[in-house]
Amino acid sequence: MSELAAAEHGHDHYDPEANKLGFWLFLFTELLLFGTMFIAFAMYQDMYKIEFIEGTHHQNIILGTVNTIVLLTSSLTMALAIQALRRGLKTLSIAYMAFTIVCSAGFCVIKFIEWSAKYHKGIFLLNENMDTLPKGEQVYYGLYFTMTGFHAFHVLVGALLIIWVMVAVAKGKVHAKRLSFIDNVGLFWHLVDLVWIFLFPLFYLIR
């Protein structure tokens, strides 16, 4: 074996523990990214209690609740997909992931409906109507669009990652003995879910 090939072989060494640790560290950075915005939310919520409650009254709780259910369901099916692959049930795993992607698309559609409803009411970034609102409400909506926007972006990235894993599973690159990739994408998806679990009560339920 040539030296380069030997090194390549060394580089290709599969270490699920390392992959898991590395990905948890990455998730940690995601947590801090959202955590920073949650701290900003906490500070402004304290500064503008009344305005924030006023803002909450303009949210559509029904759509928010439906979206929460959709996302929680998708998290469950993602976990089931990993379990299925662990037992070697390739087709079932792919089916569960397909369902997860349908859920994520559903989440984005509902989010779009919510945002466009606000847009038609004149509540949107850069809209002149926003300047007429009380200061605290402007911050509330600023945070709302920023945080749910970041979250929606993560949903999109997560969905793309799941599609990528589906292809890898279909091609047999990810299988019962080589689960790191699907495990990590699953973790990412649960993080997306987890962030929403906090966003939902903060923006919709505090009244």
Binding site: S2, E3, L4, A6, A7, G10, H11, D15, E17, A18, L21, G22, L25, F26, F28, T29, E30, L32, L33, T36, M37, A40, M43, Y44, M47, Y48, E51, L125, L126, M130, D131, P134, K135, G136, E137, Q138, V139, Y141, G142, L143, F145, T146
Partner: protein, 536 residues
């Protein structure tokens, strides 16, 4: 030919063998080339700043740069390049990448391809930063404080995305180092047998992972504020500009430990090696490294004593700032105790190690002055602060970057340099450095503000001393850089262990083979295990 005798330069040739390499040593060399280039550019910008400050304009009848705007831009560039493109990636990117795996007996880092990705993030970030310079530059200072940064006409999207990409580079390197230390240590290489440079890189990795995302999201929020008016930092919409400062410094103070911890790690390698003595208080140094990483995350608001904050929090942050000096002092005492009764060899790396201890102590003490609430109100935003952080960042990290380069140069390139030239460079650097930054502290105490392009004539004499000092210092440094560059190609062949080092990198050939060790290295019980007779 026995493939074992090939070093990592010889196994593959050509540009693509470098640009697509996953070998941690080659990535280290790539970082070295870039970091060095940016250092030279930023040093020249620094010289330009000092030239502008050579004379008080009211007397000389005009400014060199023709006005404050260009001065502000040069000042910003100097800061941005030195901080983001030189100091932060310098030691982890070059020496961490090259030596961390070797020092724990590994073949590579845990994620070699992500390691390369991290270098590309760095290059993209650097390219964006340079493009920002060419396309009209930035005038906000490296801190991008709101509300000015949300309103300035300068194009901020380039430098902010540059900082964001560089942040990713930093996070990916950090994750790689943490995982590598946990997963790839050779069997007998227990955590508390690791060389202290590895400990320092490990702690740095943690700070990079913990702190960098915060500044990442802060810079994105700033962009959103500028382009979409989200109002989080805009007082006319109910936002609070001070929040930006908090979020910025929550990263940017720990970032100074990202810069300084690896430098301290290098000192902990150099001092025992050239004292031929086991390091004094190994576990204390290891733990103090972790303590600095932890406490250093809780002191950010000492940058904001005059920004508007409750007295209680100012006192608390002042106290915590004193507290973080304790583990740093533990290290200084341990290094001095290591040298005590050692067999001290004043080779060039050791000279730089000693320069570090002296300059960093001065920087540390003046740091305590800044951290003292009452004194800080007086010296805030004066040249004193500039003097202080150049003592810690340049006198500390910059010096140790060159110290590390001198220490590991024979191993990295398999060549020697001329020691006499390096002694001369070290002397010029030391004299010029103190002329430049020592004087700045004196000017600051007298009330000279920082960042200004001009000053009243009373400050002229000491400003001239500082400017002359900058020529001496940079002269010494550039001479060293050119000599080292020359030695890479023309130096005499180096031995495998020219300094009688005991850590693993000295057990392999100079330069090392692709897989780092031709035969498995012997892991010593203690990382700096010198025989008893040398010790006493």
């Amino acid at each position: 030919m026995n493939p074992d005798s090939k070093n990592f330069y010889e196994v593959a040739r050509g540009l693509t063998s470098w640009l697509f390499t996953t070998d941690h040593k080659r990535i280290g060399i790539l970082y070295l080339i870039c970091v060095m280039t940016f250092f030279v550019i930023a040093a020249l910008l620094g010289i330009t700043i000092r030239l502008e400050l050579f004379s008080s304009n009211s007397e000389a009848g005009g400014s060199l740069l023709g006005g404050g705007e260009i001065y502000n831009r040069i000042l910003t560039l100097h800061g941005v390049i030195m901080i983001f493109l030189f100091i932060i990636p310098a030691i982890p990117g070059v020496f961490g990448n090259f030596f961390l795996p070797i020092m724990i007996g590994a073949e590579d880092v845990s994620f070699p391809r992500i390691n390369l990705l991290s270098w590309y993030c760095y290059i993209i970030g650097a390219a964006l930063a340079l493009f920002a310079i060419l396309s009209g530059a930035i005038d906000t200072g490296w801190t991008f404080y709101v509300p000015y940064s949300a309103k300035t006409g300068a194009n901020l999207i380039l430098p902010l995305s540059a900082a964001y990409m560089l942040g990713w580079s930093s996070i990916l390197t950090g994750i790689n180092f943490i995982v590598t230390v946990h997963r790839l240590r050779a069997k007998e290489m227990k955590m508390f047998r690791m060389p202290l440079f590895v400990w320092a890189s490990y702690a740095t990795g943690w700070i990079q992972v913990i702190a960098t995302p915060v500044v990442g999201i802060t810079l994105i929020l700033l962009l959103l504020e500028r382009f979409l008016g989200i109002g989080i930092f805009d007082p006319t919409k109910g936002g609070d500009p001070i929040l930006y400062q908090h979020m910025f410094w929550i990263y940017s103070h720990p970032a100074v430990y990202v810069m300084v911890l690896p430098a301290m790690g290098v000192v902990s390698e150099i001092i025992p090696t050239f004292s031929r003595k086991t390091i004094f208080g190994y576990s204390f140094i290891a733990w103090s490294t972790m303590a600095i990483a932890a406490i250093g995350s809780l002191v950010w608001a000492h940058h904001m004593f005059t920004s508007g904050m409750a007295d209680e929090s100012r006192i608390l942050f002042s106290f915590l700032t004193f507290f973080v000096a304790v583990p740093s002092a533990v290290k200084i005492f341990n290094w001095l105790a290591t040298m005590y009764k050692g067999s001290i060899h004043l080779e060039p790396p050791m000279i730089f190690g000693l320069i570090f201890v002296l300059l960093f102590s001065i920087g540390g003490f003046t740091g305590l002055m800044n951290g003292t609430l009452s004194i800080d109100i007086h010296i805030h935003d004066t040249a004193f602060v500039v003097g202080h952080f150049h003592y810690t960042m340049f006198g500390g990290v910059g010096v140790m970057f060159f110290g590390a380069l001198l220490y590991w140069f024979p191993k990295m390139f398999g060549r020697n340099y001329n020691k006499k030239i390096i002694y001369l460079c070290g002397f010029l650097f030391f004299v010029g450095f103190n002329m430049l930054y020592g004087t700045m502290k004196w000017l600051g105490i007298q009330g000279m503000p920082r960042r200004y392009a001009d000053y009243v004539p009373e400050y002229e004499f000491w400003n001239r001393v500082a400017t002359v000092g900058s020529w001496v210092m940079v002269g010494g440094l550039f001479l060293m850089i050119f000599h080292l560059l020359y030695s890479v190609f023309k130096g005499s062949k180096a031995e495998d262990n020219p300094w009688e080092g005991t850590t693993l990198e000295w057990q392999t050939t100079s330069p090392p083979p692709l897989v780092n060790f031709n035969e498995p290295p012997q892991i010593p019980e203690k990382p700096y295990d010198y025989p008893e007779e040398v010790k006493s």
